[in-house]
Amino acid sequence: MKNKSLVSITDFSLEEILKVLDRAKEFEKNTNQNILKNKVIATLFFEPSTRTRLSFESAINRLGGRVIGFTDPSSSSVTKGETLKDTIKTVSNYSDLIVMRHPLEGSAKYASEVSSVPIINAGDGANQHPTQTLLDLYSIRKTQGKLENLNIFFVGDLKYGRTVHSLLMAMSHFKPIFNFISPERLKIPEEYKMFLDSLKIKYFEHESFTDIISEADIIYMTRVQKERFADLIDYERTKNIYILKNEMLKNTKDNLKILHPLPRVNEIDIDLDENPKSYYFTQALNGVFTRQAIISLIMGL
């Protein structure tokens, strides 16, 4: 993994994924380590994402590294019309690793081709966000004690949700059963169903929450975004069907955990926050350990 860019979750083999998870566990036990001393890491946020940036910068700081970069492209040379290529070429002279988020799809892959240092993709448009996937895997393994043979429910926008697609691909290594709950227009795309069929992985599609959630080990919630609807009334009606409430968890399994990539809008009722089955805030904390693991392994440390 040393010097390897992480653009898509498929860049890492199963062994490499497990190595990240094992290393993340060590960082959870012993978070502050000075292994990035004298290293400079660039965080280039061509579009703002405070949550993801803070998680990365916390990870770097806890490892004793230094951070350079920008948090908003309006404060950088990007607004002066500099190409992504020139920005990456320049910054790779100043740093040992680049973490980048960019609104255009494929930008991280392109950056990895022109950069002399490894690139970590912190989100390229609706395309990939592999560190989110790794922290989701870490959260699943930590709460379930295993990754194999789990019944995983994905709820909400399954058509455009990149976190759903990447997690589905990554979990396919571990003999899962999938249940998809979404409105008709936001169903899981055909290509992912074909992918699951080819691996003989079982999946079921539903249009609303039913008693079936009593079989869930993980419920992975996502936002239903307004932009996806042409009709506002349709949006208002739809978004209220996919709200998870505390009372709905009555007959669910003891080991069930509710995950969400955050930020949420209203799809998880706040009355669920105190339920021990809610896990989304700890999931976000796991993001720091997972990113520590990814950075240290790519740096060969």
């Binding site: 190409t83 992504l84 255009l104 799809e105 494929g106 930008s107």
Partner: protein, 153 residues
């Protein structure tokens, strides 16, 4: 009858005949080869009878031979097409087209949010077959460009 058939599209002395084009793809081929900018004499035929294709199209271009890059373009649009190379009214070579596994340049990615539509990048596609038709998967953004959406760079 035999004679009449020959007269449908007149013979050329030297050049290339692109035969066995599906009739519906003829104008797309004209477009991708940029034939409207070519000064050489060109003859087109379309909706001709073909045992293999039902209706086929033919393009005959005098004094022109194509580069491999052009052949890839033709293969993506009309994979059953065949090229005949003509010298002194005689066929001196034939070439069946092969769909490449990857193509570089040539086609624009259909995704308006793809980085390749913003910076000067040589496009890379993996060639997939979907429902018997060629589909191009962008190696940058992962989106699929279907044949009907193909626009050249």
């Amino acid at each position: 009858m035999e004679k009449f058939k020959k007269m449908k599209v007149s013979a050329i002395k030297n050049g290339t005949v692109i035969d066995h084009i599906s009739a519906k793809d003829l104008f797309k081929i004209v477009e991708i080869l940029n034939l409207e900018k070519v000064d050489n004499p060109i003859t087109f035929g379309t909706n001709l009878e073909s045992k293999k294709l039902g209706k086929k199209g033919v393009i005959k271009i005098s004094d022109k031979f194509f580069l491999d890059k052009d052949l890839d373009k033709i293969a993506i649009i009309s994979p059953k097409a065949r090229l005949n190379f003509i010298r002194d009214y005689k066929v001196f070579g034939k070439k069946d087209l092969k769909i490449p596994n990857e193509i570089y340049g040539i086609v624009k990615c259909v995704n308006p949010k793809c980085i390749t539509n913003f910076e000067k990048i040589t496009q890379k596609f993996e060639v997939l077959k979907k429902d018997g038709e060629v589909a191009l998967k962008c190696k940058y953004c992962g989106k699929i460009t279907h044949k009907k959406n193909i626009i050249l760079t």
